[in-house]
Symmetry: C2
Subunit: 236 residues, 2 copies
């Protein structure tokens, strides 16, 4: 996973324009509701074509930071143009503890909701994932696939679109820490047992027990991960 040989791509012009606009808003102390300069003026002042200005404004528009009115101008919707896309927060290895905190927050609640809301179909999906994991572990494999499917099934069973959306944003770093955790000697069978306890609580409709079981599970994974984690020398 070396980043050393990534093909280097030059920054897009529109990205620089976005940066300039952010700066302008900060410098001028513009607030929500204020109007940005007209596109033609921006193009002239930044020395780029109107098309590039337009691309930058489209970016801000889809991020909900700006409100563009045909014939009327472009208006701020927030007091700042900074949006901090999740990727920036998630991609960097340094942020891994953050991801684990977020995972605990989300999955604990998801387990509780799943216990309250699971349909028979949800339960079947959870059991199927568990069966897959058990089969894999019995064969001496890590059970990673079943593990992933289990958490996905619990997420679905919670029937909360927003929480599911948040979970999706941290899918990749979670998968990574899962892989690492399951590589620990003797870990797969214990992990399986933890998952079974979670499933039991969800099946019983016991939200508090589901929360506790899930919390303990996430805590275990976090501990393993954090032990191996060195913020200075992050060889993956």
């Amino acid at each position: 996973m070396s980043d050393a040989l990534r093909p280097l791509t030059r920054p897009r012009l529109y990205e620089q324009v976005v940066a300039q606009l952010r700066e302008h808003v900060a410098d001028q102390g513009l607030k929500a509701g204020d109007r940005l300069p007209p596109e033609r003026e921006l193009a002239e002042r930044l020395g780029v074509s109107r098309a590039s200005i337009k691309q930058a404004i489209v970016v801000l528009e889809v991020q909900g930071l700006v409100d563009v009115r045909h014939g009327g101008g472009t208006y701020l919707r927030k007091d700042t143009l900074h949006s901090e896309p999740v990727e920036h927060l998630v991609d960097r290895r340094r942020r891994l503890p953050d991801v684990l905190d977020a995972r605990d927050a989300l999955e604990t609640k998801l387990a509780a909701l799943a216990a309250q809301r699971r349909t028979p179909e949800d339960l079947a999906a959870i059991d199927a994932a568990l069966a897959e994991m058990r089969a894999q572990v019995d064969r001496g494999e890590s059970g990673e696939d079943g593990d992933r499917r289990f958490h996905e099934a619990v997420t679905v069973a919670a029937h909360s679109g927003l929480l599911a959306h948040f979970m999706r944003q941290i899918t990749e770093p979670i998968a990574e820490s899962r892989r690492e955790s399951l590589r620990q000697p003797g870990r797969p069978p214990r992990s399986l047992a933890q998952h079974e306890r979670i499933a039991d609580a969800i099946r019983a409709g016991d939200a508090r027990a589901a929360m506790r079981a899930m919390h303990r599970h996430v805590e275990t994974v976090s501990r393993v991960r954090l032990l191996n984690w060195d913020p200075e020398n992050e060889a993956g």
Copy 2:
């Protein structure tokens, strides 16, 4: 708050192009790693200018759905171009229960982390917010501003960039439910008392107590909000 007289805005061309691209990917069964047709070809086939195609592709690019290589073509990064921006999940009134679930998940964890990680400065900010709320409530106001500042201060004290990011995504619906809750007769003083209990636990460094206090608080707000909430006739 009537939506009846909202100025009607025509859909942007680039949005239609994005939709067409999604459809194309689905129809052709394109997968991650596959290449999209060249911009010039898309422009011709869709009967729009290349600039519009470009805007659409920029949108997909900032959403991380597509990888654009200068001179090399545009490649899919996922098996689909659908992204489900949070706004769609958050804006609709129907999703309010989801927001409240998410709030419980996030703020409960934030309170626990704040109890463990708060610096003296964090505590000072929390106390300042609490003092403002108390002053407002004493004057017979709702204390909404202090309330908001309190939760922001707790979020900062938790020192988790990711959780803070998630919180920001549901700021607005939360503010709305807060307003509604504080309008209930006799609610502001009780809310103040709940906030003080949370602050006490954070000051004491008692993560479990902070969790419990925050959970109870969020639960109270949710109950008020849900009572008034009618999914069929959603007059705001």
